[in-house]
């Protein structure tokens, strides 16, 4: 009797949770309660990292420092040009009365060493709603888009990687603006572009950037590069594969992005943003 009742409640829970949102309060409080478990699991990895840092040799640290200095010099040189271009872009956009792109705000967050399901590409990060994270928020790393948040709890969040088989990113080819969708394959080194016709203008090495059309991902960030294009005469779509730009299964830090792009905002507001 009790078994039937509990099974029924479980099924009702799953139905309510399936379209996400109805049970978020329960999930958040449970998640907060279980946070110590995540911390305990993560602890050895943090400790090893910390230990490695604190017993590193002075010589190594100096070398790393010099390397970073050089890198910073290079990037700041590149940034100078970027600043000028950005200003110009803003002016042109203001002239055209189109919505402006404002610099996105980012926050560094760490991936916790917590295994979820081996067959799904999910991660847990150590920032939650108290840091401003929200459901659907995009995650980046130094090279490109990593994924998006699926559940934002108070102090941690779960995210799905772009390589998860149930995930898709709206992308465009940087060379010619050809729009399509990059679908995860369940393999961290592969994305599939299943909706390109056989005669589509796409070649190996093309850079795919986010098109921002879905509204979730900010436009203009690298998603991957095309590694295989094989037209398939027996079907109407070609087989196109891409390699993700981000180091999906290697990095420990990701960036949370607050995109301030107003898609389709009224011109007056856009101008206001542009003038800032």
């Amino acid at each position: 009797m009790r078994c039937v009742l509990l099974a029924f409640v479980s099924i009702v829970f799953m139905m309510l949770d399936f379209r996400a949102g109805h049970l978020d309060s329960i999930r958040h409080s449970l998640s907060l309660m279980l946070h110590p478990v995540r911390i305990v699991v993560d602890l050895p990895f943090v400790a090893v990292h910390w230990l490695g840092e604190s017993i590193a040799q002075r010589r190594e640290l100096l070398a790393e420092n010099r390397h970073l200095q050089n890198e910073k010099l290079e990037t700041s040189a590149r940034l100078q040009r970027f600043d000028a271009l950005q200003a110009e872009n803003r002016r042109l956009r203001a002239l055209m009365e189109s919505s402006a792109r404002v610099a996105d705000r980012v926050l560094v967050s760490e991936i916790m060493a917590v295994d979820l399901d081996p067959l799904r590409h999910r991660i847990v990060i150590n920032k939650g709603t108290v840091h401003g994270a929200y459901r659907g928020q995009p995650l980046l790393d130094a090279n490109g888009i990593v994924g998006q948040i699926t559940h934002a709890s108070p102090v941690s969040s779960e995210a799905v990687l772009i390589s998860d088989a149930s995930h898709a990113v709206p992308v465009e080819v940087n060379r010619n603006g050809l729009r399509t969708i990059a679908v995860g394959t369940g393999d961290a080194g592969k994305l599939s572009l299943p909706f390109l016709p056989n005669n589509a203008d796409i070649v190996i090495g093309d850079l795919l950037i986010s098109s921002g059309l879905g509204g979730n991902f900010p436009p203009g960030y690298p998603v991957g590069s095309v590694t295989q294009v094989s037209p398939d005469p027996s079907s109407s779509f070609a087989t196109v594969l891409a390699r993700p730009a981000a180091a999906l299964n290697r990095n420990r830090e990701v960036l949370l992005v607050w995109s301030t792009t107003e898609v389709g905002s009224p011109p007056s507001e856009a101008k206001e943003i542009a003038e800032r």
Binding site: L34, R38, P118, R122
Partner: protein, 165 residues
Amino acid sequence: MSEPSSRIWPTVLVSVVGALILTVLPLPQWLQPWRPSWIALVMIYWLIYEPRRIGLMTAWLTGLCLDTLRGVLLGQHALALTIMGFVAMQFHLRVRVFPMGQQTATVFMLVAIYEFMLFWVDGVSGEPGSDWRRWLSVLASTAVWPPVTTVLHRMRLVREPAGEV
């Protein structure tokens, strides 16, 4: 057995938290499909040996915690643990006196039921990416049942010197 219920709960809590930690502990990629269903094993143990104090409600709540921790549909593991727990409780008197080999065979069946419920919910909710490798965890769970019972016996009986098994 004077007021044992007050003494059993800390042990259960410790074992459940331990199982939760083992469930999300990072493993190398090739070992991941072989991760035993620790929570299922711990729940089977408590339902068989302490059915009067540990009931389906405990199993259900543990299932909800597992759902949250693994970030799947809320209720998936809760449902699987409830169904599995119900079957375990039907047989608990017999399983308790089974020799280890027979007991392990029963556990294989119970974990298979548990895994099948998860598989079924995944299928209904259209969750992709499950293949034959998910069934490896049933084998792994069966293989670790003898050591798990030994550890849990120790944890349980150290508090009850009277020690009726």
